[in-house]
Symmetry: C2
Subunit: 163 residues, 2 copies
């Protein structure tokens, strides 16, 4: 058994005991999709006041749009969401390395020839603006979709929207 | 302003008022990464008893591993996580369409020639097993990493681990 598995099961049993949201439909009630980072310090539903059934949440390293496009298309075309939020955050691991460095680490530790682009960035706000632009200009995103960028401060818990 | 933006801001202001977790470090305290679906009915931190700072959470349509590999490598190699959980769920939208159908919808509605593979599936448990196997056999995942598969029941809130 993996290290956290028993604790997850125990917590889930308690969650099930008080679970009252079993009848929510598949399409998100608030018709929004959020793209954010996998960072352990971000609990997006708590930070934005989101209830079960409200919004789609896509998360990956950095909250990069390029990894999220497949999911956004499904969200819009099959499940009726009409706006997208892209939120990156302070103290993100994505500013601490380059793709070349990580490929070298993978080569040394795992012996693998790694061709992954890791989509790191050096400027936090610019990374959000780049991803907003990627979504707005993608032929796979519905034209005119509002795409809102923001930055989450992991120390204060505050989200600041970018103009 | 997008439809949900003001409500997100209002909820976030209340969240900031009571925020007490501003000093958590970047690497996840519980050294685990969870891959799950973007589905609006899944609030993974609540369902598994996860605190701020505990685990990485990767989410995409279906909770598919193929979209998560870049993030898992960063999680393992740069941020020290040592186990992976892959949790798909009942009543998932990924069983309701085929890639060919969605490409046709995109063509008709957006006029785009879409070559995306949407990674839909027809058998829920098999999709979890496939993704566990993809991760276990990937040259970019640390050999010997425990990879645990599970299914979340959106009606009961229960997670069931697969053997």
């Amino acid at each position: 058994m993996a290290v956290n598995q028993a604790d997850f099961s125990k917590a889930n049993a308690a969650f099930v005991e008080s679970f009252k949201d079993g009848d929510k439909p598949l399409p998100p009630a608030r018709k929004a999709v959020l793209i954010t980072c996998m960072d352990a310090r971000i609990h997006p539903e708590k930070a934005l006041g989101v209830d079960i059934g409200d919004i789609h949440v896509i998360r990956n390293a950095g909250g990069r749009a390029v990894d999220a496009l497949r999911s956004v298309t499904i969200s819009q075309q099959l499940l009726g969401t009409t706006e997208v939020y892209v939120v990156h955050h302070t103290d993100c691991g994505m500013v601490t390395f380059t793709t070349q460095q990580l490929r070298q680490i993978v080569k040394e530790r795992l012996g693998a020839d790694d061709t992954t682009h890791y989509h790191e960035f050096s400027d936090l706000e610019q990374s959000v603006r780049d991803d907003v632009e990627l979504l707005k200009s993608s032929p796979l995103v519905k034209p005119g979709t509002p795409v809102v960028g923001g930055v989450y401060d992991v120390h204060s818990g505050a989200v600041r929207w970018l103009d």
